[in-house]
């Protein structure tokens, strides 16, 4: 058979794997065994294990059926949550945390303990650990959708509106005055137009309820690939995956271009790290001769068990093309993510870890090229704001935080939880980076440190609509999780007592992070929850309102613009200029009449979700929104158009 292979592919390519194994891996293992840091017995065991033929019995995971059984029980407990009556209307400013039944929290607790129990076994099957992570994702991100039955977060509805526009008009219109950026970066919306139009659904709303769960699930595989590039230690890899999901509290997983672009970004980074990464040659040589006391072999281990050095991986044109295709899809879908990818590649290039400088040039050209060719009007529109925030990292950071002095008491607690969660993960990551820096691991982990730092550059560039600090944290999170996991992951070494203490401490920290996650992520659900009655009221309003009507509301937190969005105009009187907000709060009736009288048809909307947003963020003094609503209801200048599901819509009684 081997002779046939040699004849077919030529002598140079035949048996290349075997020759590489004989020339590379075995001598290194022998050198490793002979280093003074290892005991002779351990060395002999390692050498024997390396040289012996691989046995399929080694892959048997003893006892893992107990893990699967436990997981089934946990999933059943979680499923039973939906048999309970969850009173969503009683949600406080702690969000879903305030209304979820005990059985839900029992499932979360058991899942945490089960994962932490199984991850400590180096030989625990990856399928079992992946099963735990998928269950965690389902518990965290599928629960709101199942409970609500509607798509969460008001911006998802606007994104559905863009998809609806492309389905209806078969293209984009750059002259559109509303939501212009989405017409200039149509990638995500075009793809969803393909899904919606192809599958024959009336609207993308039919599936967007699952968007957070699907987006988080899509991150799992590329994330594992990234982590496996840095370590072959399965415990560290899966602990890092767990920490990533606990740390991903900022909620950029709803139906949005940024969530889609982030999935592609993580995939592009995984490809770059696995095919285009370089280890310094001198360091590799030193490693090969055992001059360093290494804790882990500086090699990359694939799931098939093959051991290769990252530098030995061929840079095929096909892999180059994959990065280019993915980078182009990112560039046409989102404004910020392409430049995060450029920064990541630039960071690797500057630290001499990227093997292909042309890849950086091509990805930069694509990202900049799309902005210059297609996004120029939007850039021109945003340029003054960008220039104003350029080079002010501290101002851009502080602009991102909510004003705790006016937020509700519960929201202050939620804000402390999310800040503590972020600080704890970053603190653990710093300790992990310190340990890595002091060990031989640093050579391999330096790219991870580089990719933790590169997103921070965005703080210097823009406030990104007061969100930049959260986006920076999101882009550095995979690597923060890796460094944090290297500190927190259970280790099989040391005395039994030390192992137990370490496991218990780790479980305590992970439990605290879990609690913080639920407060941080679920703590904003009072404004993210769009009740079905409210969605249906808005559908009714769209059937009543003629095209070119004005829709006016306080803060934008309503499920609107999801259909025929281009036919209407939208105004937020608290989110616009300060003069308008002041006028409406001081003389509501006259100010609102003034805003509405210039349009043939104008509809003023009062909704429970808008009220919740105002109450939680302190945009108005307590009771002021209700006072405005009372004044409008009692004014003879307005007439009621719709009162349904808590939504109250009025129009001017005498339109010009």
């Amino acid at each position: 058979m081997k002779a046939v292979v040699a004849r077919l592919v030529g002598r140079d390519r035949a048996l290349v794997t075997e020759r590489s194994y004989l020339r590379g891996v075995i001598p290194r293992r022998v050198v490793q065994c002979l280093t003074p840091t290892r005991r002779a017995g351990g060395g002999l065991t390692t050498a024997t294990a390396t040289l012996a033929p691989r046995s399929r019995r080694a892959t048997v995971r003893p006892g893992s059926w107990r893990g699967w059984l436990g997981l089934a029980v946990i999933a059943a407990l979680w499923g039973s949550t939906f048999a309970w009556t969850v009173r969503l209307d009683r949600m406080t400013d702690f969000g879903l945390v305030s209304v979820m039944p005990v059985v839900y929290w029992v499932a979360v607790g058991l899942l945490t303990v089960s994962f932490w129990w199984w991850v400590r076994w180096r030989r625990a099957g990856p399928a079992l650990l992946a099963g735990h992570v998928v269950t965690l994702i389902a518990i965290m991100h599928a629960t709101p959708g199942i409970l609500y039955g509607t798509t969460r977060y008001s911006w998802s509805y606007k994104h559905v509106g863009i998809v609806d526009y492309i389905v209806t008009h078969h293209g984009v219109d750059r002259a559109m005055p509303n939501l212009t950026a989405y017409q200039d970066w149509p990638g995500f919306f075009g793809l969803n137009a393909l899904f919606a139009s192809g599958s024959g659904t009336a609207s993308a709303l039919s599936y967007t309820v699952w968007a957070p769960f699907v987006n988080e699930l899509l991150l799992l595989a590329p994330l594992v690939l990234i982590l496996r590039t840095f370590t072959a230690n399965r415990t560290v890899v899966w602990t890092a995956v767990w920490l990533f999901y606990l740390g991903n509290w900022i909620g950029q997983d709803y139906f949005s271009p940024q969530a889609f672009a982030y999935v592609l970004y993580i995939t592009a980074v995984a490809v770059v790290l696995r095919w285009f990464l370089r280890l310094p040659p001198a360091a590799r040589t030193r490693w090969a001769y055992g001059q360093f006391r290494l804790r882990e072999p500086a090699v990359l281990v694939t799931s098939g068990g093959a051991i290769v050095e990252p530098t030995a991986r061929p840079r095929t044109p096909a892999m180059y093309a994959v990065v280019v295709v993915v980078a182009t899809a990112i560039a046409v879908s989102h404004q910020l993510t392409p430049f995060m990818l450029v920064a990541a590649l630039g960071g690797l290039l500057v630290t001499r870890r990227l093997r292909s400088w042309s890849l950086f040039v091509v990805v930069t050209a694509i990202s900049v090229g799309w902005v210059l060719i297609w996004g120029l009007p939007f850039l021109h529109q945003q340029l003054p704001a960008v220039l104003q925030t350029l080079g002010h990292p501290f101002d851009n950071t502080s602009a991102s935080f909510i004003n705790l002095s006016v937020a509700s008491r519960d929201q202050v607690v939620v804000a402390y939880f999310d800040r503590a969660l972020t600080a704890a993960l970053c603190g653990l990551a710093l300790i992990g980076a310190w340990y890595a820096w002091r060990s031989a691991r640093w050579r391999r982990w330096q790219p991870a440190a580089c990719l933790t730092v590169t997103p921070v550059l965005a703080l210097f560039a823009s406030s990104y609509g007061t969100e930049v600090v959260f986006r920076v944290f999101l882009f550095e999170l995979p690597f923060v999780a890796l460094f944090a996991a290297s500190v927190l992951a259970p280790r099989p070494t040391g005395t039994r007592r030390r192992r137990i203490i370490r496991w218990v401490v780790g479980l305590g920290v992970v439990s605290a992070l879990t609690v913080s996650f639920f407060f941080s992520y679920y703590g904003k659900e009072r404004v993210n929850y769009m009740p079905a009655a409210e969605v249906s009221a808005m559908e009714r309003l769209y059937s009543l309102a003629p095209p070119r009507s004005l829709m006016i509301e306080a803060t934008d937190n309503t499920p609107w613009a999801f259909t025929h969005y281009a036919d209407y105009q939208y105004l937020r009187y608290l989110s616009g200029t300060a003069d308008v907000a002041k006028a409406v709060t001081t003389h509501p009736v006259s100010a609102l009449v003034h805003l509405m009288e210039g349009y043939p048809h104008a509809y003023l909307i009062f909704s429970p979700t808008d009220a919740a947003q105002i109450e939680m963020t302190g945009a108005l003094a307590p009771g002021q929104y209700q006072a405005i609503e009372r004044d409008v209801r009692s004014s003879p200048q307005f007439e009621t158009v719709l009162s349904q599901g808590g939504v109250f819509v009025v129009t001017l009684r005498f339109t010009p």
């Binding site: 293209g171 899904f195 192809g198 592609l264 295709v325």
Partner: protein
């Protein structure tokens, strides 16, 4: 056996054309939805992934989905810019691309 192997090799193109057929003939929504998602999030990548020379199953899975979503996104954008974006048009382009990739592979082998 040889027929089954042929079907397996050409599966991405077959799935993509099946999606085109169910959309063109207005099949019921659940069937269409499943085929459309598979045809756009799996088929183009599966047709091209043989070029990528990766033996790792996880790598192949990630690359398949990423390439598929990337290609589908770019096709949808190009069609949107020319104001001819419909599900049927986009799926037809994806089916042609998948067929070309599969045919190229057959010719190479």
């Amino acid at each position: 056996m040889r027929v089954m192997a042929g079907v397996r090799r050409n599966l991405p193109a077959l799935v993509a054309w099946a999606a085109v057929a169910v959309v063109a003939f207005q099949f019921p929504t659940p069937v269409r939805a499943v085929l459309v998602v598979v045809a756009s999030a799996w088929a183009p990548g599966a047709a091209l992934v043989w070029l990528l020379e990766s033996a790792d199953r996880l790598e192949r899975a990630v690359l398949t989905v990423a390439v598929s979503l990337g290609v589908a996104t770019l096709v949808a954008v190009v069609l949107s810019l020319f104001h001819v974006m419909t599900g049927l048009h986009a799926l037809a382009v994806l089916a042609v691309l998948s067929t070309v990739a599969v045919t190229f592979r057959e010719l190479r082998v």
